[in-house]
Amino acid sequence: MPLDREELLHAYRVMKTIRVFEERVHDEFATGEIEGFVHLYAGEEASAAGVMANLTRDDRIASTHRGHGHCIAKGVDVRGMMAEIYGRTTGVCHGKGGSMHIADLDEGMMGANGIVGGGPPLICGAALAAKVKGTRNVGVAFVGDGASNQGTTFESLNLATVWNLPAVFVAENNGYAEATSSRYSVGADSIADRAAGFGMPSVSVDGHDFFAVYEAAGEAISRARDGGGPSFVECRVNRYFGHFEGDAQTYRGPNEVEDLRANRDCIDLFRVAVTTSGDIAQADLDGIDSDVDTLIDSAVDEARSAPRPGANDLLTDVYVSY
């Protein structure tokens, strides 16, 4: 195993926290308690966990509309996230951002983004800042297969190469952009291959396999840290829920999700790998499971009882001074 026991346990905790967080948000959305557009990351946990296992707090990421998993893996406070999604003053963004705009700059998380392709330019900036300041930090931009067709994404790939930025672009290819298949929207055989046209190395990995993601991202991130410039990593993943909560998903094949859950679940695969190898005992993982359940329960309870922002909060945070 390329990671030590603590690291493996941490990775598991991250994935499990994301999963339970998302399943719970799914349920609470159904009750009507959570409002707005909510895009769940369940099924893709190994991607966030595998990439982020290579990052420090001072490295930066730019996320997407499907941002909960990236936030949790980057270390954003789970209670603050839940409160944010509930629109409470205790939320990480004071209830002003919501699911699509969770950000925590202190944790190096530059924001979920409601604009598809909004993140890559920003990450060029974060990487540039690291370069100018001479830190060894990196910036990682996440995009989906759909976002991989957006002009802002292509431009950012080129700019990162031209400026030789410590940046990594992670394309989470879950096969769909909303209801449109990537087989339709991506006019190329492979998303990863496009990187060659932008002068950077790329790799495509099975995003259900935490270890594959960890290694591929690790290589890209080390190269960036060492001044070797940008790289591109495609993670082939799957999402378990609809594009957003409320999506009936009639565009998906019969039993598509059931099969995935049964046979390709990243958390199951991780459990099997680390227990089979003997690195971790089942009981340790079960312990984490129950920690996580407790955490999410209490995050929801706290969010529910937290105050909602009011008239005093409406006009703050626009400008420093006016």
């Binding site: 409470r88 209830g95 409601g114 604009i115 769909y176 339709y184």
Partner: protein, 337 residues
């Protein structure tokens, strides 16, 4: 024959009938079919809210899904329009204008003038706007003022099913670029709509309610909030005339000015951000051309100058409501020098 249908159905019907009527009408947008390339159903979505559902089964390849590539497909609609088609492109949320504005602002809007009158660009862009569904800062904006600012664009903001159908058909037949702003909170509202094809001319306001005391000018969803306020005020003997301009470019100056000449008191209700907005545009028109009739300051009821907040508790404070409109009307009604 008029029946009661929703705003959403009226839009779908306008597209359906005009596609049936004119083979040069085509549709394009993200997931306006839904299911392209996938293993399940085609026409799975009909757009995120199902507005275009049923058109792909009927018109096949004339209804096209696009990659997420707004500059390219909005530009393709513009280019196709300049090449003899009448494309209707869906920009899912008007907030996404930022990634494709150039093709509207510098291309479509300018062709006719820049090319000395020798180009026509009959493109329609349908787009969703407005707050109220907790969609937060990047999915709740009302940027029609920005489009109205741009010479060469026509801008439509329908407030009810009847207008939505008639103005959309007019937009498709119009030989200039037209942007139709559909309020996401209006899609399920109902109204009487004729079954037949009909058009409503641009630049003709609708006097939704007559009244001699105060003129309220309101757009889109705000028309309904204004009518609500007007009912309450009527109970107190303040009669409001409520004007819905229906199109902001061209704007029906005359109807507005005539009303102000009779009431002398004005409140403008606008869901857009308050600076350089339709509210200020209409106010300035009145302050220049109906100054002699004005008996009170021109009040504007708008959101504050902030992004749209996520939390329901804040968003409800953000969007103008009947109470705020009522307060503004009372203020101008009670004003004396």
């Amino acid at each position: 024959m008029a029946r009661t249908i929703t705003y959403q159905q009226a839009i779908n019907e306008a597209l359906d009938q005009e596609m049936g009527n004119d083979p040069s009408v085509i549709l394009m947008g993200e997931d306006i079919v839904g299911g392209s390339g996938a293993d399940g159903e085609m026409d799975a979505w009909g757009g995120p809210l199902g507005i275009t559902k049923g058109l792909y089964p009927k018109y096949g390849d004339r209804v096209m899904d696009t990659p997420i590539t707004e500059s390219a497909f909005i530009g393709a609609a513009v280019g196709a329009a300049a090449s003899g088609l009448r494309p209707v492109a869906e920009l899912m949320f008007s907030d996404f204008m930022g990634v494709c504005f150039d093709q509207i602002y510098n291309q479509a809007a300018k062709f006719r003038y820049m090319f000395g009158g020798k180009a026509e660009t009959p493109v329609v862009i349908r787009t969703m706007y407005g707050a109220g569904i907790r969609a937060a800062a990047q999915h709740s904006q009302s940027p029609y003022s920005i489009f109205t600012h741009v010479p060469g664009l026509k801008v439509v903001v329908p407030s009810n099913p009847y207008d939505a159908k008639g103005l959309l058909i007019q937009a498709i037949r119009d030989n200039d670029p037209v942007i139709c702003f559909e309020h996401k909170s209006l899609y399920q509202t109902e109204g009487e709509v004729p079954e037949e094809l009909y058009t409503l001319p641009f630049g003709e306001a609708n006097v939704v309610r007559e009244g001699g005391d105060v003129t309220i000018i309101a757009l889109g969803l705000m028309v309904h909030r204004s009518l609500e306020a007007a009912e309450t005020l009527a109970a107190d003997g303040i009669e409001c005339e409520v004007i819905d301009p229906r199109t902001t470019s061209p704007l029906d100056d005359e109807t507005i000015l005539e009303s102000v000449e009779s009431t002398g008191r004005v409140v403008i209700v606008d869901e857009a951000s308050p600076r350089c907005s339709m509210a200020t545009d209409i106010s300035a028109l009145i302050a220049r051309d109906a100054f002699g009739s004005l008996e009170a300051p021109i009040q504007m009821v708008t959101p504050p100058h902030t992004p749209v907040p996520f939390a329901g508790s804040l968003e409800d404070l953000y969007v103008p409501d009947a109470t705020k409109i009522e307060t503004a009307v009372r203020q101008v009604a009670g004003y004396s020098r």
